[in-house]
Amino acid sequence: MTDGTTDPLTRPLPAPTPRPRFEAGFLTPYAFIGPALVVMAAGLLYPVVMAFYLSFYDWQIGLELEDAPFVGLTNFGRMLVDHQVWEVLWVTIRFGFWTITIEMTLGIALALLLEKPIRGASVFRTIFILPLMVSPVVVGLIWRYLFDARVGWINYYAGAWFGIEPQIWLGDPQLAFFAIVFVDIWQWTPFIFIIVLAGLQALPSEVVEASTIDGATWWQQILFVKLPMIRSILVIALLMRLIDVFRGLEVMLIMTGGGPGRSTELLSLHIYNRAFETQQLGYASAISVLLILIVFGMSAAILLLANPMRERSDV
């Protein structure tokens, strides 16, 4: 019996074991993410490093890399005064602004509307996400024919239903820009829709009900409870779309090739054209570096400002 006044440890203790230098199993997480890290380093880092490296050389196709002359920052200097680069950058920004604004708005709105189990919602959901499953090359092909001035369905139905004169959609700078924005929205709104929907459905129902009791209207509930609670999902979705705007080029390549003029030429497509049409690999790499810096800067800014992990909570 011990009563606090006597030392309770009167019996001898066994010899103590040394304190472990590392917690048992501290290597385990690294063992799991290690292989993935290696693959990512090879798959992601290598091209980035190569782009940096090549941007200091004047490397043309047909030339061995070893024979390409080192030109220092010449490629970057050239880029600064290259009005084509600034032009396609502006096209990219406009494209990104319109597509992302509309995709986010539409995707969130649709998710909010179809969140409740109403009749036919699941069918609609399935049909609606089909565009997501089509590869960009096929998307480009499909829409190129749909927008075709002579045989395209769009001219046909625009005329038959709305009495709109046939347009040479992909031959007019403004219409072509509209067309690629439209197609991007067609393909990627479902992406926003589906992840926002998943987020909404994972919301704890009692919290939403609490706001109903607190007197929030449908609209206030969305604005003050639901959207803030899926904020991290929205930020990630926005980030992924932003990165894609600077990355994707297949649809434009096939639908318009960037034309007419440079009206639909996005930065990534421009790089592609520089590299494989005009064969200036070194210069194209320098523009890639610009692209990487833009994407990296944007991502960092968004993650810092909107830190999607901050609101994580088990409440």
Partner: protein, 366 residues
């Protein structure tokens, strides 16, 4: 007419009828506890009062106004959920003031009410914290505070204490009782814990299978349960039920069974005579056993003690009486050693008598 009235409420989900027909009249300012086993329809009933669930048929009135088809915000209610349901992206002050801000309450008044509620619940140091940085008990108090600042006509609670540890739960029970005194509002409280029900309620509503079994004060449902369900549900440790046969012996009615012969008090004579032919179920509450005889109403029974649990001033016995497993709670003082088999004494004035077939009480005063 005021308070909360439920008239012939029916609720079914598709073909599943959860509540067949429920009527209940709750007076203004009353603290009513709905209690019953899991799945008996307590939450469903509460959610229908809140307007989170629509009734299949029937009528609900709050403060003398028909609210059967009105939305929650128009019912003048506040609700505390089992999961607390705090807004994770708002701090404590924002959580508590959300409803007021939505209602367009002047800023100064919002501040004032939040501070008063925080004061009452000892949450003032935490007003700037997010829910995830609070302990379970603190979150629970925030949920409480969120409903207090509303100053609603009815407060609804759905098992608000079930996620707390035993000690905290006991102190929150006291807090809630105090809160009810202070606010003087109608409160409807759902729990499956009969101790919570007994300690806090003005009236207890005992439900089973979507039906109300009994409505009454804690004293009434304890002393005068309508049937074996209520009798065994209320009281801790639970009442033991044993089958018995009645016979007349020298002017007294004696209930005999395997291992016991208990003379019935005069109060039960008439009821016993009416039921004698059908056979009865005897109800023995654990706390009515004693180690030594206390008076002429005590009858000796032999208990074969299997386990004696030392609680302090009393001991809980898991014992056999004849072939029946029974529980006894025997007050022997904190100095007593663990009790063993022997003769114990049961206060026959405290016997309960039920119809063996229907389980309905035969001893009810009414």
């Amino acid at each position: 007419m005021s308070g909360v009235q439920l008239a012939h409420i029916r609720k079914s989900y598709g073909s599943v009828e959860v509540i067949p027909d429920l009527s209940l009249d709750i007076a203004e300012g009353e603290f009513v506890v709905l209690v019953g086993p899991s799945g008996c329809g307590k939450s469903t009933t509460l959610r229908m009062i809140a307007g989170l669930e629509k009734v299949s048929s029937g009528q609900i009135a709050i403060a003398g106004r028909d609210v059967t088809w009105t939305r929650p915000k128009e019912r003048d209610i506040a609700m505390v959920f089992q999961s607390y349901a705090l807004y994770p992206h708002m701090n404590v002050a924002e959580n508590m003031s959300f409803a007021l801000r939505l209602a367009g309450t002047p800023k100064a008044e919002v501040q004032d009410r939040v501070h008063r509620a925080a004061d009452m619940l000892e949450l003032t140091p935490y007003l700037d914290r997010k829910p995830k940085d609070l302990s379970g008990g603190q979150r629970q108090r925030v949920a409480m505070g969120r409903s207090i600042v509303r100053d609603a006509y009815v407060f609804l609670f759905d098992e608000p204490l079930s996620n707390l540890d035993a000690k905290l739960r006991a102190s929150m029970r006291t807090e809630l009782a105090l809160l009810h005194q202070r606010l003087d509002r109608t409160m409807i409280y759902v729990t499956h814990d009969q101790i919570e029900a007994m300690t806090m309620a003005d009236r207890i509503v005992i439900m089973d299978g979507g039906r109300i079994q009994q409505v009454g004060t804690p004293k009434a449902v304890y002393n005068d349960p309508v049937n074996t369900f209520v009798a065994t549900f209320i009281g801790s440790p639970a009442m033991t039920l044993v089958p018995a046969d009645l016979s007349e012996e020298g002017g007294r009615v004696v209930a005999r069974g395997d291992g016991f012969a208990l003379p019935l008090p005069d109060r039960l004579k008439a009821a016993a005579r009416r039921a004698a032919s059908r056979g009865v179920t005897l109800g023995l509450r654990p706390e009515h056993f004693a180690a030594t005889p206390r008076g002429q109403d005590d009858a000796p029974v032999h208990l074969d003690v299997k386990v004696a649990e030392y609680i302090g001033s009393s001991q809980y016995l898991a014992a056999r009486m004849g072939s029946h497993d029974i529980t006894a709670a025997v007050e022997v003082g904190p100095e007593a050693d663990r009790l063993t088999a022997g003769t114990y004494h049961f206060d026959t004035q405290r016997l309960y008598l039920f119809d063996r077939r229907t389980g309905d009480s035969l001893t009810r005063a009414g």
